[in-house]
Symmetry: C2
Subunit: 251 residues, 2 copies
DNA sequence: AATCGTTTTCCATGATGCGGAATAGCTGGG
DNA sequence: CCCAGCTATTCCGCATCATGGAAAACGATT
């Protein structure tokens, strides 16, 4: 695992501590040596980092065999961040959109080279894996394309993205992605046609704040039978309306 | 603000970074110098810490005037931690308890010298401030007393707690608290009689895991008129039943 | 414009984090 | 039961990395 917390190179120990946390994003419990291996750090160093994180309740230590897991401090901060970004105020709008269309609506932001789902309609549901992990690749999701398209991603940046995930239909290189982004900007929405999950299509539209900066995107996802070509323009319009409402409440 | 992330003294920079985060717990946006002032750190050091946190999306930077706020990474980790601790599975039980009794039910854990509310019944409600901050003092809350009583807190530890918050009815020193904790253990539940908020009483019971360790507590809170003496034993029984159910799902 | 408070960058210094190695703890297998 | 191998934890000398003063940009307020 590469140090997800890309960072500038400054504050080595802090950066490392945060990438230790990143190891736990999938919900596993991990031991010291396992983490050291993944981050390619000496065990003693890793151990020291873990201790610091445990001391601040960012990780819990569960003994025998000594494992670590995400701590309750993160649950606390999570709620605060969630409320501060007003995501809870946006979710009713997503719910409404989902009800009208029959598809799943969600808000996402970019995080390193991933799309992170921040809020979704009816996320309490138990439909198997609930968009497992809450992370998607940028190049193979409508949300990712929308974020890239309206954040004026430079060509050099596209070149540095990983293109190793997705399906056979996924975009597989920077040039292709560049063209797709142009097309996306032109027609005003991003589209994902079974590029990530077989049988599913997603529409993505930007969520712009007053300054024109696009830091969030709204996605509408459903099975192919629902997201048929004829309905797409209609769904896009609805999504854009919702995006505007969401933009007003989101910080 | 004292470095809430108590920590052992090792990993200065990490510890400091985490206490920077702690400054944002109340949901404010803050600037560099403000934080430096609160933590009593040089501005340049603080700035460096902030940059590292921003680089990992733990903080967002919002320009002009340069302010910082909790970032979306925390929202992400929060959800994961929340799910991992199975708090979402516990909340229906809280809801049920709340419905039966008419009081508010919540789960909490200890965090430094505070009680942190992790989950509550009907937390979507808009009743003013929604248990603002989600933090309570240990000595002046039933949840805190329960946590202290069943975590065999040593006398030296009680002596080190702050007793400066609460109402006139609050416990005001370690000796008094020690007696209260003994009483609490004996009768099997903690009680808070308007010691924190005028007009409100809370019952607190421990949530023990199989190993006997008590890391969580369950609270039942309501106005004095609801939590009259005659009902308390009944409410305690109900709370204990719920606590057992919760203990089974919580990790 | 001029001033004050703030944010950001720079750099020499030495405290602080680093990681190899040694110790202690588990676990599973023969 | 004991040994072997893996894992966790502690220790300590070295040099790297974080530190914080000072100065340079920046921006708001009068």
């Amino acid at each position: 695992m590469e140090p997800t917390s890309s960072a500038n190179g400054q504050l080595q120990s802090v950066t490392r501590a945060l990438s230790v946390l990143a190891c736990f994003r999938n919900g596993e419990d991990l031991g010291v040596s396992e983490i050291a291996r993944r981050l390619d750090l000496p065990v003693s160093t890793t151990h020291r980092l873990l201790s610091a994180l445990v001391g601040a309740d960012f990780l819990d230590k569960v003994d025998s065999p000594s494992r670590y897991r995400l701590g309750t401090a993160l649950a606390e901060y999570g709620r605060i961040a969630y409320r501060q970004h007003r995501i809870h105020l946006a979710e009713p709008h997503l719910e409404e959109l989902a009800t009208i269309t029959g598809a799943k609506a969600s808000i996402a932001t970019r995080h390193g080279n991933d799309v992170v789902l921040l809020g979704t309609s009816s996320w309490r549901e138990a439909d198997g894996h609930e968009l497992q992990g809450l992370r998607l690749p940028l190049h193979a999701s409508a949300l990712g394309k929308a974020l890239l398209a309206w954040a004026q991603a430079g060509e050099d940046e596209l070149a540095r993205l990983p293109y190793n995930s997705g399906t056979a239909r996924s975009i597989s290189g920077p040039v292709e992605l560049g063209k797709e982004l142009t097309r996306t900007r032109e027609r005003g929405y991003a589209f994902n046609d079974e590029e990530l999950v077989h049988g599913f299509r997603t529409i993505g539209v930007p969520i712009g704040d007053e300054s024109g900066q696009v830091r969030f995107a709204l996605g509408l996802r459903g099975p192919v039978e629902l997201m048929i070509d004829e309905r797409v323009p209609f769904f896009v319009d609805l999504a854009k309306v919702t995006a505007r409402k969401v933009a007003d409440v989101l910080l």
